[in-house]
């Protein structure tokens, strides 16, 4: 199987697996006062320091959660208070669901948030929490978050950044971005599923936890933390810093160029983009059909947002970009950290076969172009 669905989940990094296995050998609850408890606490705090260092916050401002969805939900719940919530049109469902009934910030055709609209919206002085993702999960398009943070701070608004897809695929530094909070997920960067983190700036408010429970995480997230999973998360984050992103980008570009020759159309900004992601539309061919046809070629890609039934729905991200019918005809190809040239060769061949069968006219046109 050629796995090109990193934005859904990444293969586990060997260093992460080693860290998990080592931590699983210990039997302590980090809240306990005895020796095993102290040992567990030490592993947890080591992981916290690693995550803080990797993503630009202080250790005491790192809250471990069950994953990215909970990190986003916690941020919105804790930072919102009496504030109005404004989210971009391309936010992930984790943000959309947590911030129900809110104003929406439009994006342009390239998939980048409209900062003029943001400034206009904040000009009324109403206290606001803005949610803007760092990189989009479907297109990989990187958002102008630092600029947005400047605008937000000028208007005394708060900014929460969903960096779940960005982490591990580009430098992510909360303090440098100037935002108030940042959500990260372990499995999106090659750690195990089951852990995530919400990082806060040193001036971020925190009204109340989503889950109070036993007061863990300095009272900001109840529940015994899964120490082994979190140890694997930290090891993966550290390992990801050493990734050769230029290598991944070159492989992505090769795949993309070949797909365009076969009739594919790249959706979104190609400059401000994660190196591992491309969103490829094949005009007049339903995205679901493309995903199935490639799966039968043993190539794993995805389309839109799959709901729990597995049905593929038209992408709200691409629709917000004004792509019309193409929104239902685009697949997401996202390269994991361990993608090989052989994987890309197989994708190129499989994509050409698929396009040739589903859309012979496009292939002919592409060849002539």
């Amino acid at each position: 199987m050629v796995y090109l669905d990193a934005n859904a989940t990444q293969p586990l990094r060997p260093r992460s697996r080693d860290a998990i296995i080592a931590a699983l050998a210990e039997a302590g609850n980090p809240s306990s006062v005895h020796g095993p408890g102290r040992q567990a606490r030490r592993m947890l705090e080591d992981a916290r320091e690693t995550i803080a260092r990797c993503f630009g916050s202080r250790p005491q401002d790192v809250i471990f959660t069950s994953g990215g969805t909970e990190a986003d939900a916690t941020a919105i719940h804790a930072l919102r208070g009496q504030r109005r919530v404004l989210i971009s049109a391309i936010e992930h469902d984790a943000v959309r669901a947590a911030a129900s009934g809110v104003a929406v910030l439009p994006v342009d055709r390239s998939g980048r948030a409209d900062l003029d609209a943001l400034a206009d919206c904040l000009a009324d002085g109403v206290p606001t929490l803005v949610c803007l993702m760092l990189a989009n999960n479907e297109t990989g398009v990187i958002q102008p978050v630092a600029e947005a943070a400047t605008i937000c701070r000028r208007h005394r608004a708060l900014l929460h950044v969903d960096a779940i897809q960005a982490a591990g695929r580009m430098p992510v530094h909360l303090a440098q971005l100037g935002a108030h909070s940042l959500a990260i997920s372990s499995h999106k960067l090659g750690g195990p599923a089951g852990a995530g983190a919400l990082l806060l700036s040193d001036d971020a408010p925190f009204a109340e936890p989503l889950l109070a429970g036993g007061g863990q995480e300095r009272g900001r997230r109840g529940g015994t933390p899964p120490v082994a999973v979190i140890a694997g998360f930290a090891a993966a984050a550290l390992d990801a810093l050493a990734d050769d992103l230029a290598r991944v980008g070159a492989l992505r570009d090769a795949a993309e160029t070949a797909a365009e020759k076969a009739g594919g159309v790249v959706c979104g900004d190609r400059v401000h983009r994660l190196p591992n992601t491309t969103c490829l539309a094949l005009p007049d061919v339903a995205a679901a059909t493309q995903v199935m046809a490639l799966d039968l070629e043993r190539i794993a890609v995805s389309a839109g947002a799959a709901c729990s039934s597995g049905k593929v729905q038209a992408s709200h991200v691409l629709a917000a970009m004004g792509l019309g019918a193409l929104a239902g005809q685009a697949i997401r190809v996202s390269l994991p950290w361990n993608t090989t040239q052989a994987d890309i060769d197989a994708f190129i061949a499989g994509y050409a076969r698929m396009a040739g069968r589903l859309h012979p006219a496009l292939v002919t046109a592409g060849m002539q172009a």
């Binding site: 061919v285 679901a288 059909t289 199935m292 046809a293 799966d295 039968l296 709901c307 729990s308 039934s309 597995g310 049905k311 593929v312 729905q313 069968r357 589903l358």
Partner: protein, 368 residues
Amino acid sequence: MRIVVAMSGGVDSSVVAGLLHEAGHEVIGVTLQLYDHGAAAARKGACCAGQDIYDARRVADTLGIPHYVIDAEKRFAAAVIADFADAYASGETPVPCIRCNETVKFSDLTALARDLGAERLATGHYVRRIDGPGGPELHRASDPARDQSWFLFATTRAQLALCAFPLGDMPDKRQVRGIAHRLGLDVAEKPDSQDICFVPSGAYTDVVAKLRPDALLAGDIVAADGQVVGSHDGIARYTVGQGKRLGSAAMIGGQRQVVIATDPGRRRVIVGPRESGTRDIQLRQVNWLIEAPGEAIRCAVKLRAHEPPRSATVNSAEGTTIVQLDQPALPAPGQACVFYQGDRILGGGVITRSAARSVSNSLTTPAP
């Protein structure tokens, strides 16, 4: 052979997938999501997919075959559910399963099968495909109790060429369940699906009421001469041939009455003795599974899913198809009239309201 199997999550299509997989074919399971199950069951937060899609996935997991869910919600809502309500509002009695087979199921899945490079689309329908000298033919199932051929008359010849119906030769359902047990499928004892899939509560009028409340407005029940003989609570509750729900109009002059027509414009239900009827039926949306005949043909026709065939002559000329029954009957507009020759399905069409014209004309404009 690469074969797409339409899997509903029920025992029949699960067994089809299992048998074809066992025979060594490359089986691809596909389930159409036709409606939002959570919304249909009026359970807030319930998954849109519901138990049937879950069951289909688990069967595919058990067999070790790929399985995909296709979103056909929007088109099903427009082509089947809205049409269902509109038909009732216009005084017809629709058959949503035929409409779905015609507009969603077979069109989507045969197209998908081709797109995926499959050589066959297999379904769990009880009907037989027999390859004759003139190409593939559609025949009744071996088990008359299970035969679903009436619901499949609208399958086009191009679609039929791609279709396989492995259960058409099964002697009975018990054998199908036996195979499911042998294959270790959890759905082996799952009850047969009932009624209309998008009406889980069984009250089809709830669906009609939501989309076409006008079809459930009260009105008069009138006799053949136009005289008001009772009242009704919505023409959507009545179908031609029905003897129930007539209240005081059920018996007139010592004769049991049935619905012989509806008049949606005046919100009237028209009753008459069961013996009244028509010989001529005009059809629309006619589909032929043989070369469209240039002349009248003698055959048997079935006017309802569960009713014995009747002898008739089918005249098809210049886009108009008229069926002449040997004996008068009470065909219900919106239902199908399917043509048979022995076990073979020749074609069929949808019964139009003008079928009842000979009756209703004399009713709505009483002779001076």
